[in-house]
Symmetry: C2
Subunit: 475 residues, 2 copies
């Protein structure tokens, strides 16, 4: 399936929401239902290169019960529903390929309960990680998953997001304990109790995490919290070559050092970060590191890591001193997407990601660097390399078909390379539209099982249609 | 559905495997296909109270490809297939409710690959955790999940097993990276690459973990390994009351001490253990503790835990000295099932388990202790209490209907209590036959979603029929 071709396929007639459905929705939602063109456009795109494909309408429910009522109406009228969080998607997840209704969950921002004793919190899907952590500030606890944007936690669960902390604290797969979801017939389910573990039946929590709105709409979640570590230390290591930086990462992971964050930024990215976030970093392939623990253990781990860095020809190793220094460092890291975007204002970042076993990371990055060096436009390499996960930010002029074609080839080469190295076509961005064509290559006949699950749970195909799985006949 | 009634339901005719299927199976398997009565009986039971319900035949494949051929034959003839590992099931998972073919995977014991650099290993489903850890001995790595029995790792994945290490290292949910499975039509799928994380589609790995053979047959797995900690220390704490012991556990978890193991054994269980494993433990409610880390951190954590124990009236706190002491301690812990069994030789252990949020553990255990004190037979309480998970071992005379009825009532009270406390009817044993009747109570309408998934993946219902989910009409 070709994402760019999708808008053309959509006719004016099959995208309409029937009048009766609109009336029913307005009777529930009043002015929280909108047909406004600008709002629709804003809800038809994420933050990456995918074209805007607006829904026919947008609505803003305030509760699980309202979402259930909305979905019942859409189910009765066979109207497609597309859940929407903060619009930070990178793979076209919110494109309304068949029109329909966008369900914007960003007003569902209640912190339902914090169970400090159980190290968990129950929240509505529209809560962002920033909001939750702000709320938790005085409890000594924090929510660990941290993708770049100001994403909603519901959206993070739907795309199985992760971020810089995943090497230590896991991804959304590991950090979601239970989900309340509205299923395609409007039925509300809760996938699990708050118990830390269970063997009671199929793991519907993990089935919904990463399902990108194609099986149900996540409206509430219980997530794990962690104690804020007693001591935190950070460091910045600069190298002459990407190979040396990656060799350090592999060494740290293989030595079992329980590092909390280990991020790679190539020289091009450092240049962008220096300019956008006014950092004075040495321009070269760089690792940002962080250690969590007691004062003794963080010092111990920092020292061990410095040894590994030195044996891999580190050029400069700076321990980040104060909490402010650290906070500036990680703010800059989280703003990388915007930093590289700013390098070429009329262009757009095509953000893609792969993940491979750590032992295959050096080869994957080395081969990719060769492609990047040959490219005709700016490409940033940045990644959560402790997991074997890295991103390319291809800063492309979308109005230039040659550049887009070049980007497409480079992206496809990266996907095939990662999959050949026993990796995945997306470590944390999700499939959306952009990675659909690599699903068969990565999963083989397992895609048929995914398709069977989708057909069973959403027989009418109203839930975020056209995402994750291509229709069988269009392969 | 009533487990005890199941054998009666099965008629002589609907349980037969057609001659053509038998011939086809023998042509592949030769003497690895058996109709022998003793072998069939041995494959129709686990280690708990459930009655033996033998399959019509047993076979012993040696490869994924053979399993695929076997399932294709069974699918063509609508013969039920029941996967079998080491027979350590506790909830009647292997009972052949509709007869059919038992596929015993215990001869698939190849260690396919150890990727020490990636901290993972790929193994066939019949490998036991003991075999894998023996194989890993010189690598400095270990596989962390440790249920009591000499279970196969395939069986552990199928029941989402855990054990004493789960509080630190997670359950099979967290420790399985990828699965090769034979699906109900004989198709072989691999659920994921070896990448540490992925957002590429539905999480079929987690869907198969805990599916108890009802969706597919796990034939190969890639599992996580951990570095053997530099330092290990252990302790035994004895209390006057179960309440004090549980309060210590809650304190340790809430103080965020990264304990590796924290096990509760009540006074009755200690008595059994002393006798079966010739330990000289003080008879009283007891915690077994273990700490993994560096010499400094384990000493630090042991001291913090001792403080918490003391503030909860610990009577005796003994640090287990040598590696031999520790190994004897954990051997005794793993043998608890056999120890309590030995307290009443003509009886059988009805082993049941629940898991609740840690803040609800004191109430759950206190109310359960009252039931135990009033029971007419021996009941042991033992559990992985750091997860909020505990087991009762009801040592019942199965030939005595009054005892069985009493056990049934006590078990049901425990299930309802755990579910009411936002917990689960099984933390790690699985549903099998024994917990089916609590699935609706725990999961509500989410059971319908599970049923839809089952029907989609196994439309002819040949995969371990009658487990996890009751047929809709029989509710």
């Amino acid at each position: 399936m070709d994402a760019d071709a999708a808008p053309a396929r959509r006719s004016e007639t099959d995208s309409r929401i029937p009048r009766a459905a609109i009336d029913a929705l307005i009777s529930i939602l009043a002015d929280r239902f909108s047909l406004n063109r600008a709002e629709r456009d804003q809800h038809g795109r994420g933050e990456s290169y995918h074209p805007t494909i607006p829904p026919d309408a947008v609505c803003y429910p305030l509760s699980t019960d309202e979402v259930s009522q909305i979905v019942r109406i859409c189910a009765a009228h066979r109207v497609a529903v597309i859940p929407f969080g903060a619009g930070t998607s990178l793979e076209g997840h919110v494109a309304a390929l068949q029109g329909g209704l966008c369900i914007d969950l960003s007003r569902m921002t209640r912190i339902v309960a914090v169970h400090a004793d159980d190290l968990d919190a129950t929240i509505e899907a529209g809560v962002t990680r920033q909001q939750l952590n702000e709320y938790l500030r005085d409890t000594g606890l924090f929510f660990a998953v941290d993708p770049g944007g100001e994403s909603t936690i519901g959206g993070m669960a739907a795309t199985r997001a992760s971020g810089t902390n995943a090497v230590r604290y896991g991804t959304m797969r590991d950090n979601v304990i239970s989900i309340t979801a509205v299923m395609p017939d409007g039925q509300v389910i809760r996938t699990a109790s708050r118990a830390r573990k269970s063997s009671a039946g199929y793991d519907l929590t993990r089935l919904l995490v990463g399902s990108e709105g194609t099986l149900g709409i996540i409206t509430e979640l219980t997530v794990r919290l962690y104690g804020i570590p007693e001591a935190i230390s950070a460091a910045v290591c600069s190298y002459a070559t990407v190979e040396d930086a990656v060799a350090t990462v592999v060494g740290v992971i293989q030595c079992n050092i329980p590092i909390a964050r280990i991020e790679l930024l190539d020289a091009r990215t450092i240049k962008a970060v220096n300019s956008y976030s006014t950092m004075g970093l040495k321009e070269g392939p760089t690792l940002f590191l962080e250690f969590h623990g007691s004062p003794t253990s963080t010092a111990e781990h920092l020292m061990l890591t410095q040894d590994i860095a030195q044996s891999n020809n580190v050029v400069q190793f700076d321990a980040a001193g104060t909490a402010d220094d650290r906070s500036k460092l990680w703010r800059a890291r989280h703003d990388v997407h915007y930093a590289i975007q700013s390098m070429r204002p009329n262009a757009k970042v095509w953000s893609t990601d792969v993940c491979v076993p750590i032992s295959n990371l050096p080869q994957c990055i080395a081969e990719t660097q060769a492609d990047i060096d040959a490219a005709s436009f700016f490409i940033a390499t940045v990644g959560h390399v402790g997991d074997g996960n890295f991103h390319l930010g291809l800063v492309v002029d979308q109005s230039n078909p040659d550049e887009m074609a070049e980007a497409e080839i480079l992206n496809e080469r990266l996907m095939r390379r990662a999959i050949a190295l026993d990796g995945t076509c997306t470590g944390e961005h999700g499939v959306g539209l952009g990675k659909i064509k690599f699903m068969e290559l990565e999963h083989g006949p397992a895609v048929d099982v995914m398709r069977a699950v989708k057909a069973a749970i959403d027989p009418n195909g109203i839930m975020n249609p056209g995402k994750i799985l291509a229709a069988k006949e269009s392969r």
